[in-house]
């Protein structure tokens, strides 16, 4: 069969329809005339001839049927018909722009929010870690539950134990985050990872340039080596392509650059491992770290399982090694009482990294999916209502012989068109939602910035849109198929639709209202908890306090005396700056992402049975407590007289004081502590002060006990400075830089930011949850409003004739509004009651997020009532108003 004529025929069918049609008309008209001519010639009257010609040409079904048959043989007929249906559907949307806009917007919101959350779920939960065979990586924790640290790091020698004893692993790498200084011109403090030489090979991460570390680099005699992050290489070294092999000054030591990591590289350690994702460079751990005391736990350890090893077996092996170690060192009391029956344990690196966000994300995904279903059901109910309004047209078409397959095609095309438009809107909305999520993300969700609307996610959105498009088309189709032609003709004459349909939709609307009440109450509870938390007294004040970090490193500070002298001098210069009220320094700022520092203490006179309590430990300088407004309960703050040579002293918080010396004053009491962090409580320390507990690790609760050592007796470097001023705190930082430059122009300060920034970051996770809950509540409410509007409009359309009669009989407009709204108010009340009950259940699930608020907080529930009432009245108002404008005559005549 020749191809070319068929192709040109297809082109004509699709693009030259008008010409084809007019030619067909002309051809048939000519045929009619020719036939009529023949009949006239055989003696008929012209009128009879015309009728006979029509009969001959058209037969029983008429000429229109002939035309239809001709159209049916055209090449590409079904494609053309589909395009025709598409045009019809498009015109339908244009004719009812309100319906179209609401439907597309509803679908867009549903698909968009689902798509955004899906992209996050995909990035964080579904995709593997971005390392080679990332599923074979585990993270090893030390279980110190008995001392309040269920997830503690390991000590240096323990990585050697693991390497020696574990048979199911191909290697263990360790990392510890710290800071160092890039010296030379324009010195800069860096956040670095101190790693074992095999950390990157165990992780399965390759560099972008050069190499990572190797065993020889770690030899005690080897010269210094550094691995740079992509960002640091770009910024500090202008992306120098010859950087590998270049020698730079790190902490005043010549250090060779061995490589640069790729741009997106993150170590991906669990969030509470205190290994930030944005480290700027990596150095090797000091070669002696494996001989450091076993009590000194700092090392974050990653293990790689051998191919084919099951996680459960690997975990069993680590558990066993931990128990062996605990037995071997029992006498030394390193491993303490094992409440959980284990000392070490391993968890999948990926699973552990998403441990905290996983339930939240899955709940979110379930939530948006539910919203999507509600949105789609809403649209379906709008479509069914529209189909009901068109049921007369449909019935007429069925009577006229329209084939059900064609009806189905038409509805499917309508549904798919809506789906496609909704999907397009959804991709835009999804992009927006994702950008919003990323910009609001708390540190615990930092990695979601890797989420994007990539082809996979786009395919997901398109799939959703088309699937829902098809499902949507089923509603009206079922309606059309089930419609008994005569009933629907009758019904159509009464205004369309049935009571049964109304009841189904009403039930749906009640469900939507209840759902939005649940979400409203939840959002209200979270918002109230957030406000309450914002007003909590954390034991310190952050207003007008600026912070920055400073590292005193280099040859001039190697002598302890020089180090302390410089520190004291710098602090006195700070205190003398105009407007400065107090200035001091601390080893760890509140809500810092530095690893927590915890040390054991044994109150004097008690025997150390290995059950030593551990306290969060901080080194501070005089002036710190004054600058952050900590409250002294008894005793004194540190002074410049507490030097390295004077009696070892400490300030403790009220919790430690109460625990160690219940009912007594702690002042003058002594304990053995570990200010030098060598793993043993070995220094006898006298308590000179008791302060109100500072919530510096967690805002929502008091955690742990606290020991503050004077900086001179527990040296730490770098330190974070805090400066309280009476004037504009922004003006302080330049003055600080000036004061420092006058003392030593080679020292950098870094991370200058207000103390409040740390507090805001600490609250970010709750703020995120609250905003999400509010967004959910808003979306659910919007959907419910659309649902209420739809059902009210439908109900009043059903009663159009009744309203017309009532108006004719003298009912006032007010009474009509009352009739319409009355029904809606009943739905609203039912939704409200069910919703409040549901909220009471949901609130108990939120308990952990509620801070000190009870899940039954009446105000949060009470607030939902006016919001819902307002939304429901708003949604019912328009149909009610429309009902009052029914002209009695017109509504009666419409039959």
């Amino acid at each position: 069969m020749p191809i070319l004529p068929r192709l040109s025929a297809l082109r004509d069918t699709l693009f030259r329809r008008k010409r084809l049609e007019s030619e067909l008309d002309a051809e048939l008209a000519a045929a009619l005339e020719t036939l009529a001519d023949r009949y006239v010639a055989s003696g008929m009257s012209p009128e009879a001839a015309r009728l006979a010609a029509h009969a001959a040409l058209g037969g029983l079904n008429g000429i229109a049927h002939v035309k239809e048959e001709v159209r049916d043989v055209r090449v590409g007929r079904s494609l053309e018909a589909t395009i025709g249906d598409l045009r019809y559907a498009w015109r339908g949307l244009q004719r009812t722009p309100g319906f179209g806009a609401v439907a597309i917007l509803t679908l867009g919101l549903g698909i968009g929010s689902t798509t955004a959350i899906f992209s996050v779920v995909r990035t964080l939960l579904l995709s593997d870690l971005p390392f080679q065979d990332g599923s074979r990586l585990v993270f090893v924790w030390h279980d110190l539950s008995a001392r309040g640290y269920p997830r503690a790091p390991l000590a240096g020698p323990e990585i050697v134990d693991l390497r020696d004893r574990a048979r199911l692993f191909s290697g263990f790498g360790g990392i510890w985050s710290n800071t160092t200084v890039l010296t030379g011109q324009d010195p800069e403090q860096l956040r670095i990872g101190l790693v074992t030489h095999d950390f990157f090979s165990v992780l399965g991460a390759a560099p972008a340039l050069g190499r990572t570390f190797k065993a020889e680099d770690a030899a005690p005699t080897a010269s210094g080596t550094i691995l740079l992050s992509h960002a640091l290489w770009q910024r500090r070294f202008a992306g120098d392509p010859a950087i590998v092999g270049r020698t730079i000054q790190v902490n005043n030591r010549a250090t060779a650059v061995v490589g640069v990591m790729p741009p997106g590289f993150r170590p991906m350690m669990p969030p509470d491992a205190s290994v930030p994702d944005d480290l700027q460079a990596w150095l090797l751990l000091h070669s002696s770290f494996t001989t450091w005391p076993r009590g000194q736990r700092f090392l974050r350890v990653v293990g790689r399982m051998k191919p084919g090893v099951r996680l459960a077996d690997a975990q069993q092996e680590i558990d066993a090694i931990g128990i062996q170690l605990a037995r071997e060192y029992k006498r030394v009391g390193i491993y303490g009482p094992m409440e959980s029956g284990r000392a070490l344990y391993a968890v999948g690196l990926h699973a552990d990294g998403v441990r905290e966000v996983r339930p939240t994300l899955l709940a979110l995904f379930a939530g948006v999916s539910l919203l999507l279903v509600v949105a789609c059901v809403n649209v379906a109910s709008l479509l069914i209502a529209r189909a009901a309004a068109r049921s007369r047209e449909t019935a007429v078409r069925i009577v006229l012989g329209a084939d059900t397959r064609r009806l189905f095609r038409q509805y499917a095309v309508e549904g798919l068109l809506l789906g496609a438009l909704g999907g397009a809107a959804g991709l835009l909305v999804g992009r927006g939602c994702l950008a919003l999520l990323v910009s609001l993300r708390p540190a615990t969700l930092g990695r979601i910035d890797a989420a994007s609307i990539d082809p996979g996610v786009t395919a997901f959105a398109i799939g959703l849109a088309l699937t829902w498009g098809l499902i949507l088309s089923l509603g009206p189709l079922a309606q059309a198929r089930s419609a008994d032609i005569f009933t629907s003709l009758q019904q159509a004459s009464r205004g369309g639709g049935s009571r049964l349909l109304y009841r189904r939709r009403a039930a749906l609307v009640v469900f939507q209202l209840a759902l939005s009440v649940v979400l409203l109450v939840s959002a209200g509870l979270l918002a109230r908890a957030f406000v309450r938390l914002a007003n909590v007294d954390p034991g310190f004040a952050w207003d007008n306090v600026v912070t920055f970090r400073l590292s005193l490193s280099g040859p001039r500070f190697e002598e302890r005396e020089a180090f302390h002298a410089f520190s004291a001098q710098f602090r006195s210069r700070l205190a003398a700056l105009p407007g400065v009220i107090a200035a001091g320094a601390i080893s760890h700022l509140p809500y810092d992402d530095l690893p927590n520092w915890g040390t054991p203490y044994v109150p004097d006179g008690r025997v150390d049975r290995g059950e030593r309590p551990t306290a969060d430990t901080r080194a501070i300088t005089p002036g710190f407590f004054e600058a952050v407004g900590a409250r002294l309960i008894e005793g004194r703050f540190f002074t410049e007289a507490d030097t390295a040579a004077s009696t070892p002293v400490a300030i403790v918080d009220e919790r430690l004081a109460r625990h160690a010396w219940p009912g007594e004053s702690a002042i003058g009491k002594r304990f053995t502590g570990d200010p030098y962090t060598n793993g043993h409580a070995s220094v006898l320390v006298t308590v000179v002060g008791v302060v109100r507990h500072l919530r510096h690790r967690q805002l929502a609760a008091e955690t742990g006990e606290q020991i503050y050592y004077p900086h001179t007796q527990a040296p730490r470097n770098p330190m974070a400075y805090v400066v309280r001023s009476s004037s504009n705190p922004d003006a302080v930082i330049p003055q600080v830089r000036g004061a420092l430059a006058r003392l030593d122009s080679t020292l950098p300060i870094y991370d200058p930011r207000p103390l409040s920034a740390y507090v805001v970051a600490a609250r970010a996770a709750r703020r995120f949850t609250m905003i999400l809950a509010a967004a959910f509540a808003g979306a659910a409410l919007a959907l419910a409003v659309i649902g209420v509007y739809g059902v009210t409009a439908y109900a009043s359309a059903l009663r159009r004739r009744e309203f017309g009669v009532r108006l004719a009989l003298g009912a006032t407009r007010r009474q009509i509004v009352g009739l319409v709204m009355g029904e809606t108010v009943r739905l609203g009340a039912l939704g409200l009651v069910l919703g409040l009950a549901g909220a009471a259940i949901a609130a108990t699930l939120l308990r952990s997020q509620l801070y000190e608020l009870t899940p039954g907080d009446p105000l949060s529930y009470a607030l939902a009532i006016p919001v819902l009432a307002g939304a429901v009245s708003l949604a019912a108002w328009l149909p009610a108003q429309r009902a009052t404008r029914i002209s009695p005559m017109e509504s009666l005549r419409a039959d």
């Binding site: 051809e27 000519a30 045929a31 020719t34 037969g59 048959e69 043989v73």
Partner: protein
């Protein structure tokens, strides 16, 4: 019109139309009259059912339509057979002969 019958009629109709047009170009009514004439009324082809067949053949490139004047001075669409149509006619003739032969053999077998 039931579908299963249409298929047989369609094939035969196409053959008849092609054969008719192989002699000279005709318009739709002309084709119907010609078939009627030659078969002396055995096949009464209603012009209405002829048009879909004509269009199908045209779409397949076996015949081509052209507007021109009838002897009565009216404009009408005349169809002529194309080269592809000639080949198709030959093929269908052969096919038809085979069918006739086969059916004949069955009917004459004892």
């Amino acid at each position: 019109m039931p579908r299963h019958q249409t298929a047989i009629v369609k094939g035969t109709l196409d053959l008849l139309v092609l054969k008719t047009l192989a002699l000279e170009p005709r318009h739709g009514v002309g084709v119907a009259e010609r078939i009627d004439q030659i078969t002396r009324g055995t096949f009464q082809v209603r012009p209405g059912s002829l048009f879909p067949a004509l269009h199908r053949l045209e779409q397949n490139g076996f015949i081509a339509g052209e507007w021109s004047e009838t002897p009565e001075g009216r404009r009408a669409k005349y169809y002529r057979i194309t080269a592809a149509g000639q080949r198709q006619l030959a093929a269908e003739k052969k096919n038809w002969a085979r069918i006739v032969l086969a059916v004949g053999q069955i009917l004459e077998a004892d």
